[in-house]
């Protein structure tokens, strides 16, 4: 490719171990100036470790970093900023009740008096906004901005610190498709101005759309760096996983039976008395997957929480003709499980697992009252539980298959498999699934998707909530789009497209008509 000095960043022989785990093994990468470079890999492949080394959070055990051809040690994030590296994290680091301007200068004030730096920052901000289509009001409070705008503030922060190299970690996880498109336009604009961008993502589509080159990581090593134009999603997936992967879910047409779940005018208020679910009605039949599409935070979580017995609600919900209490007695998670509802929660770390518990203790989670887990009236049968866990681990290919290992020591995909195994093996009438493949590697995604379809084919009802539109499109038999606590409409996945769904997710189309 290009001669020395035209690389914005060059990493040579970077290695980093955490105890016995080799997170990065002899990584070499060269990013030409003025390009968008994708880094893709499964969870735990070492992408984040590598970027943390580049941003000075970790110290590499071995290897060198060259910035603009010059050997540049980066012992801390201050030196990274000085070297012209800016980082946009997955979780924004903004002060909610500060204005955009205040957030941008935070940590980069010129002196004890704010007025001068604020005035200077305003000028810089205005010209930056003009140049890169960032259009953010400098005086707006962060808490009033949409997620997409907040992300742009993060980008502005990096640019204000004169970053030449911008690293974005999973930037589209929280964005609507339209917002993501806008982000990529901004990134292209930055590239044209000579900035170098590193894009970390697990979404193959984004890599194909936005990058010039792409590096693939697998188990701590850099397996390939290729020109994006000369590769395909299938090839990248194979490089990531190390074997051929089916990207599309194979499933037979649904054969819906009787109505299993009927939801009428379901409303939920959060602890601040704000209505999050504003009258939602739908039904799911046996042998059917209803997918709920929507940008995170539009009421999907509350829908799952209300049906799963985690949040009080009003309205009317019937399961196989039986009324489900929505508040007070009989509305807790235990009653829901007894009624035949299993729940794979959206956030497995927060809800689905106790990370400090062993795998077998987690397999009993929610089902600790099950008769088969009791030795007698007093004691639990921990031995039976271990055996049951070993059996489920084998069936769901959880690795390593050790029931006594703490949940936190499994990879994300294997943690999710433990949750999925626990819930699906209860043979529920209705399965609630939230973000089934969030932070899960491609191999496990394929497996989990097949399990969900298998449950449907066994005549069960499935409510699927996901912010991944691809996942909704390929798994669902019917799609409901949620926006602002309401269902904007139902669509047949074969007769709609991402553009239409994207508009509905932004609250701009749809309403009412059923598919």
């Amino acid at each position: 490719m290009a001669a020395d000095g035209t690389y914005a960043i060059e990493l040579k022989g970077i290695s980093k171990a955490f105890g016995p785990v080799q997170a990065n093994k002899d990584i070499n990468i060269a990013v030409p100036r003025g390009t968008i470079h994708g880094i893709i890999g499964e969870n735990g492949a070492g992408k984040s470790t590598l970027m943390s080394i580049l941003y000075g959070f970790y110290k590499a055990d071995a290897g060198q970093i060259f910035i603009g051809g010059k050997l540049t040690p980066i012992p801390d994030s201050q030196s990274a900023i000085r070297a012209g590296i800016g980082m946009v994290f997955q979780h924004f680091k903004l002060v909610q009740n500060f204005t955009v301007l205040e957030n941008v200068i935070l940590g980069a004030e010129d002196g004890p008096l704010l007025n001068t730096s604020l005035a200077k920052a305003r000028q810089v901000l205005e010209s930056l906004s003009r140049d890169y289509e960032l259009d953010v009001d400098p005086d707006a409070l962060i808490e009033d901005l949409s997620v997409g705008h907040q992300q742009r503030v993060e980008i502005l922060k990096a640019l204000y610190r004169q970053a030449d190299i911008l690293i974005l970690d999973e930037p589209t996880g929280v964005l609507t498709p339209a917002e993501a498109d806008h982000l990529f336009r901004i990134l292209k604009g930055l590239k044209e101005q000579g900035k170098t961008i590193i894009l970390i993502t697990h979404k193959l589509r984004e890599i194909m759309e936005a990058t010039d080159n792409v590096s693939v990581m697998r188990r701590g090593t850099m397996v390939a760096t290729v020109k994006t134009a000369e590769t395909s999603p299938e090839q990248l997936a194979e490089l990531m996983v190390g074997r051929k992967v089916l990207l599309e879910v194979e499933k037979k047409p649904a054969r819906p039976g009787d109505v299993v779940l009927r939801v009428e005018d379901l409303r939920v208020r959060d602890e601040h008395k704000v209505e999050r679910l504003k009258g939602v009605s739908f039904e799911i039949r046996a042998g059917e997957i209803l997918g709920i599409a929507g940008v995170a935070g539009n009421g999907q979580s509350e829908l799952l929480a209300a049906l799963g017995g985690m949040m009080r609600a009003t309205g009317k919900v019937t399961l196989k003709g039986q009324d489900l209490p929505l508040s007070g007695r009989g509305s807790d998670g235990q009653s829901r499980r007894r009624a035949g509802i299993a729940h794979v929660p959206e956030d497995r770390h927060h809800y689905g697992l106790i990370l400090d518990f062993t795998a077998w203790e987690n397999v009993a989670f929610g089902y600790f009252n099950a008769p088969e887990y009791q030795k007698n009236a007093l004691f639990m049968d921990n031995k039976a539980l271990r055996q049951d866990t070993a059996r489920k681990m084998q069936k769901y290919d959880v690795r390593p298959p050790l029931p006594d290992l703490a949940a936190k020591n499994f990879s994300g995909g294997n943690q999710q498999k433990i949750v999925v195994a626990r819930e699906m093996e209860q043979n529920p009438d209705l399965l609630l699934v939230g973000q089934p493949t969030r932070g899960v590697d491609i191999g496990a995604i394929e497996f989990i998707h097949n399990q969900i379809v298998a449950l449907r084919d066994a005549g069960k009802a499935v409510l699927l909530v996901s912010v991944e539109l691809d996942e909704i499109m390929s798994l669902s038999d019917r799609i409901a789009v949620m926006f602002d606590g309401r269902i904007m409409g139902f669509r047949d996945p074969d007769r709609t497209d991402e553009r239409e769904l994207g508009l509905m997710m932004a609250g701009m189309a749809g309403h009412g008509e059923a598919a």
Partner: protein, 366 residues
């Protein structure tokens, strides 16, 4: 990221913490012109050098096992019960009321009844903060601390105005009937060959050890314990699983209060044989350090209680046999609590770093 091997976590961390506490104690002793070696000898000799010394050490140990278990039980539900002191004092009231109620024919009957009384009163005193936490979200740390003061004031009132027999000068209850006197270790056949002189350690020690087993079984072998631990680790996850938070907070705090209350069997019934003011003598607070040092596991609690029993008895001996001021004993105990409890993380991080260095050297050599 890097983690310690289990043996280092369980053995090495407390050991290093103790060593650091001993080191600083030695420096303090040197600075006031005393010999740390002599002080250490006096403590070991006085607390562990004779059956008589052990008789005192084990007496303190018994109290600390109860209060340590009380903190442990609540801790696993994610609740920090600072109210062991007050719950123990109320437990003492329960013991006194039971013992004074009947002319007990035999100590075994009295022990069973007094255990119930102590547990009931201790639990009742924990019930109010627990209810406020479960229903109103009032922080249990704050309320249990306040309830310690209320307990102390309540007992002063009861001992001065209600329980004090007419004509008695000090604020204390009447002496318990002889049938309610628990045998000391020197009065138990078999053990009396070892403990030849009268010692305060009594049969309550065995009750304490039995309670350690019971607490272990509840926490790790029953559904209730499973729910308590799950709730303590993650409240949102417990809600997902359908674990009732009010039930868990109430039950775990009631058990915690009952354990703290049972401590009073040891000192009120087993030693003083009447209810005195401030009967618990700070053992409720020591229980926090014991539980922290014992990693909130009953086995660890028993071992840590033994250590603190040694410190208590050894410290008392310091006051008797040396010119070291009595306050030094509190300094030493304070340093042990500081290092094993509060500064535990510091030692842990230090050791983790050292272990990490060793590991990377090994990797480099390989």
């Amino acid at each position: 990221m890097d983690r310690l091997p289990r043996w280092a976590d369980v053995v090495l961390v407390p050991f290093v913490s103790l060593l650091l506490a001993a080191l600083i104690s030695a420096l303090v002793l040197l600075s006031i012109g005393q010999s740390p070696v002599q002080a250490f000898n006096v403590m070991v000799d006085g607390a562990l050098g004779s059956a008589y010394g052990w008789g005192y050490t084990l007496y303190y140990t018994t109290s600390f096992i109860f209060t340590g278990l009380a903190v442990t039980m609540a801790f696993h539900a994610g609740l920090f019960n600072i109210g062991g002191e007050g719950q123990a004092q109320l437990g003492g009231l329960g013991v006194a009321l039971v013992c004074l109620a009947l002319p007990w024919p035999h100590w075994t009957l009295a022990l069973v009844a007094a255990t119930l009384g102590a547990a009931l009163f201790g639990a009742a005193w924990a019930a109010i903060p627990a209810w406020l936490q479960a229903k109103r979200g009032s922080h249990i740390v704050i309320t249990t601390i306040m309830f310690n003061y209320i307990a102390a004031a309540l007992l002063v009132y009861l001992l001065v105005d209600v329980l004090r027999p007419a004509g008695q000068m000090d604020p204390a209850s009447a002496r318990f009937p002889a049938g309610a006197n628990l045998p000391s270790l020197n009065e138990i056949p078999g053990l009396n060959l070892i403990f030849t002189k009268g010692v305060p350690a009594n049969v309550t020690l065995f009750l304490a050890l039995a309670m350690a087993v019971v607490v272990w079984a509840i926490l790790w072998q029953t559904r209730l314990g499973y729910q308590i631990r799950a709730f303590g680790k993650s409240e949102p996850a417990a809600r997902y699983a359908g674990i009732n938070p009010v039930y868990i907070i109430m039950v775990s705090m009631l058990m915690s209060g009952a354990l703290a209350g049972m401590m009073s069997i040891n000192n009120v019934m087993g030693e003083a044989e009447r209810l005195l003011q401030n009967s618990s003598e700070g053992a409720g607070f020591i229980g926090i350090a014991v539980a922290l040092m014992g990693r909130n596991h009953p086995v660890g609690v028993v071992l840590a209680a033994l250590l603190f029993g040694f410190l208590y008895q050894g410290g008392a001996e310091l006051g008797l046999w040396t010119s070291i001021p009595i306050e030094m004993r509190i300094v030493v105990q304070g340093l042990v609590i500081l290092f094993t409890g509060a500064l535990d993380m510091m030692v842990r991080m230090m050791l983790t770093r050292i272990f990490g260095l060793f590991r990377s050297q090994k990797l480099g050599a390989a």
